[in-house]
Symmetry: C2
């Protein structure tokens, strides 16, 4: 029987850039830096807020940045770099960070130690601190998110879920999208299995990657050049609970495209 | 040389659900229905707004809904449905909608006529109108978006980009994300190639799939059961110009994972 359409009140969602963040240095507390930036903008966290942080400042705070000058590429890295027209030293680091190489044609696609599938093991090259440096993914981005989440709790008394994001390419589709590589304080997936849809039909196999969608919101806010490495999302009714970006990784044996 | 960090003013982004939408019927004008719903909420479009519409109501307005009762599954559909524990009639439609079957193990992954890679050619089963029906993807979702976009222009005088969205699964990652399957009135991709990053390093090969990220925002707003099939995104500085969801489709010969 068709159900009556209920007047579900869905809230507006707001994505608020954290403006005026200073340079981040190894050992810095991102929670403290972000709170200071908010104070500088006469803003503060509210209950229900979610914080999305670009992995780059996490990597910087955790010292996961290497000067390229000191990297000696292997023969394999040299060959791949020549083929893909890119920097052999960055490819060397990408190979070291990789658990497995999936494709090596035009672009190096690897599975990282965390299980993420992405280009060049997520290694970015940047002109950090005056010289060419490689920014590596955090060793354990869920732990990075948890650390910021706990510190925010300590400093504000609020439960603020934290997502660490990076821009990844996708199979089949053009363009990068920001996705969650670290999650703390909320469920990364929302399970709609067993729920009814608008018309009483039971939904099957429907899990929504909400942490990735939240990362995408932050991607729109910060862009590639907007210099806004942190963003607050307000108004999203997240599900509290243990969540991690590892839950967003499809196990290799269930993946039809690896 | 390291550039001075500029005080880039990045705007907040708001995602506003269009509440109180009525049932959509074949032949309905979605632009008119959405404008009426907004009036009912004492709201209106502003310049700079983007409209995201779930493909399901587009399919309904365009009559892309078939009662499953009239579908006779082929032997292939019966075999696939048995293997994947799903409805053979829906699989039959999925096979008819497919240009190519990519995987047929656990779940049927196809390339649709539009070039999208997704489960079951995007065919959804729903209890529409009292019986089990299949909702098919619009024949030309870019044209569907353009139609709504033009009608909104006519009725409001405003240039409102329109995105038609659907929830797709991804390779390598768990959970569905909403993506753009139709785009009108804005660029679907944002090209950062040749721009400098925060530290003066020239970005390489960086195109952002902004239309997909905008669809993801709407995915958070509407969820699977929130009954909000349309959403306004306010505050995103989109690039005007000819855009289409076809630009988001990676050509098969450039795709390393097909």
């Amino acid at each position: 029987m068709k159900k009556e359409r209920q007047a579900t009140q869905v809230k507006q969602l707001h994505a608020i850039p954290v403006q005026g963040m200073p340079e981040v240095n190894p050992g810095d507390s991102l929670a403290e830096i972000i709170l200071a930036a908010l104070r500088g903008n006469e803003m503060q966290f509210s209950g229900g807020d979610i914080l999305v942080v670009k992995h780059k400042i996490v990597a910087k705070a955790e010292g996961r940045i290497l000067p390229l000058a000191g990297v000696r590429p292997s023969r394999r890295a040299l060959a791949t770099a020549r083929r893909n027209k890119t920097d052999a030293r960055a490819i060397e680091l990408a190979l070291r960070e990789a658990k497995r190489v999936l494709r090596d044609k035009h672009v190096l696609i690897t599975e990282t130690q965390h299980g993420f599938v992405c280009a060049n093991s997520g290694v970015d090259v940047s002109n950090v601190d005056g010289g060419e440096s490689a920014v590596l993914l955090p060793l354990d981005p869920d732990a990075s998110a948890t650390k910021i989440h706990r510190k925010l709790k300590k400093l504000t008394g609020l439960h603020i879920p934290v997502i660490v994001s990076d821009s990844f390419g996708r199979a089949w589709r053009q363009g990068l999208c920001d996705v969650a590589i670290g999650v703390a304080g909320m469920r990364a997936l929302r399970d709609y299995r067993g729920r009814s849809d608008d018309y009483g039909y039971t939904l099957r196999a429907t899990e929504q990657a909400v942490a990735d969608e939240l990362a995408a919101v932050a991607g729109l806010i910060s862009g590639k050049d907007a210099r806004v490495p942190a963003c607050i999302i307000r108004g999203y009714a997240y599900l509290r609970g243990r969540g991690s970006a590892r839950q967003l990784v499809r196990p290799a044996d269930q993946d039809l495209f690896r």
